[in-house]
Amino acid sequence: MKHYDENIIQLIQLYLVGDLSEEEKVKLEEWVRRDPLHEKLFKEICSEKSVASNFGIYENVNKDLAWEKVVSKGNIKLGHKSRRLGWYKVVAAVMVPVMVIAGGYFIKEMKQDTLQKDMEMAIKPGKSKAILRMGDNRVFEVTQDQEIQLDVAEGVAVVNSSSGMVYPELVAKGKIEYNVLEVPRGGEYTVTLSDGTVVYLNSGSKLRYPVAFGEEHREVFLSGEGYFEVAKDSVRPFSVNVDKLKIRVYGTSFNVNTYNLEKIQTVLVEGVIGIQYVNSDIEYTVKPGQLALYDQVKDTMEIRDVDVLPYVAWKDHEFMFEDESLENIMSKLSLWYDVDVFFQTASLKDLHFTGHLGRYEDISRILNAIAEVTRVKFSMKERTIVVME
């Protein structure tokens, strides 16, 4: 039996919504060329004019009413739980075999205990919010729900909308003025700088940058965690200063994490970067797919190959943990959900986990998943999550 390819379905869909990357385009073209039948099919899809009008019919089909009819016609006995709970049950059941394969552990069905309800009430995922500090000591609170213009310096208006804060394309002649964007715990924010560079800031981070970069170089200062997509500019080099390091960038995407100042992590997704100690000439070159780990206590720089995804998934609204300690996982959760964590049993910090979760999911989901497979228990006191055995 000739199976059609799920990946090709995705590519065609992305083509239809107009968001196909170059690489994907090549793959799709290759598939289209492989077989005249493929070509015919693709042409049919492209010439289909009724996508939007058919969606109108689709939208208006009442599936809830239809479901009631199917239930009564087929005499289907629904469980005593509500439909929503029924869905949870399925999710839990789906989870079990997967986890058995993955971890070799037996897991009971997910329980809906009181802890979960408490947490859902008290703890909310983070959202887009930040504080903008301007040169003249003015302060603005921004969220990405607002569509507004802000005068951030004389004659410079910034647009704030759902895609974050966008600075106008400008080059400063003369004095450079700075803005500071501070993202609190439980927040995240995106800012596009005057050269087109996009910076995603994670919870508890701060970025200091010029309202407009000068003619010679582009320089910003970061604490916390940020993901940079640096715009190419062969004339003006870009550098990020973090504590005692300077990261020199040659048109590139990378993630810098300085939450733990003793261990600063820089991960490169594409392009080339060089890392220098402040006041030193030695530059360490980092290539795509590599992590540069600066250990401040030992004063060493370690560069090694890693899977970059777990380091950058946060900017795409995901937590991704790859063999990560419970201590690290809890500290990431505490920043995003803005809660404190207390380990009553210290040895639990060294449990390691692999997995992922949407950042906008409820925190109880991840804690339940951990509690189900280990001896770890969680309880809540005010805004502190207590971890114990």
Binding site: Y4, I45, N54, V70, V98, T374
Partner: protein
């Protein structure tokens, strides 16, 4: 995907939760699909409802998600053609339709085409209303300025909503979205 196959396994064991999920995924698109032949929406809805009742009542064991999908499309097509055959009125249109599409297996590439649309609609349907409006016009081939005028919003808003929609669609169509936490545990 693993969870698709597990849904089928659960359907084979007559778990009603899995049945409901599959119903939610396919019902509306299959109605649209039946309307290729039967035109009237009530008739199409009856055909698809009866099919799901059968899925529940019969003891068929489905070997895979893929096989299940093919079964649904085939059944809807054949039931629609059957309906036309048994209909009293024998208009010219009916005869033409019958001649043009013979009953039998739907070619797999045809199924693929419908899967493109089914999943696209499913994800479009999840977008917030405002965003969806903008995107529907965009799919009709309208320009940003035209959309802005029709919906009485700024072009900037059109752009942002379009971008938001694409980001969301890419995530969902690419299967990045996870419905459950997948965890593996290891001890140091």
């Amino acid at each position: 995907m693993v969870q698709d196959e597990l849904l089928i396994e659960q359907l084979n064991q007559k778990q009603e939760g899995a049945f409901k999920i599959l119903f939610d995924r396919f019902y509306r698109y299959l109605v649209l699909y039946a309307m290729k032949w039967v035109e009237r929406q009530e008739v199409a809805e009856d055909i698809v409802q009866d099919l799901f009742v059968q899925v529940w009542e019969r003891d068929t064991i489905y070997s895979s998600y893929y096989g299940f999908k093919n079964f649904l499309y085939n059944s809807v097509k054949n039931a629609s053609l059957d309906y036309l055959k048994h209909k009293e009125v024998e208009g010219r249109y009916v005869r033409y339709t019958l001649r043009a599409s013979e009953a039998g297996e739907v070619p797999e590439l045809e199924v693929m085409k419908d899967e493109v649309y089914r999943r696209l609609y499913q994800v479009l349907d999840e977008l917030p209303k405002r965003c969806q409006e903008v995107f529907k016009h965009y799919l009709e081939g309208k320009k940003n300025s035209e959309i802005a005028e029709i919906l009485r919003i700024s072009e900037l808003t059109v752009k942002t909503q379009k971008r938001n929609a694409i980001v969301y669609l890419r995530k969902r169509l690419g299967g990045v979205y996870m419905l459950y936490v997948l965890f593996k545990v290891g001890f140091m």
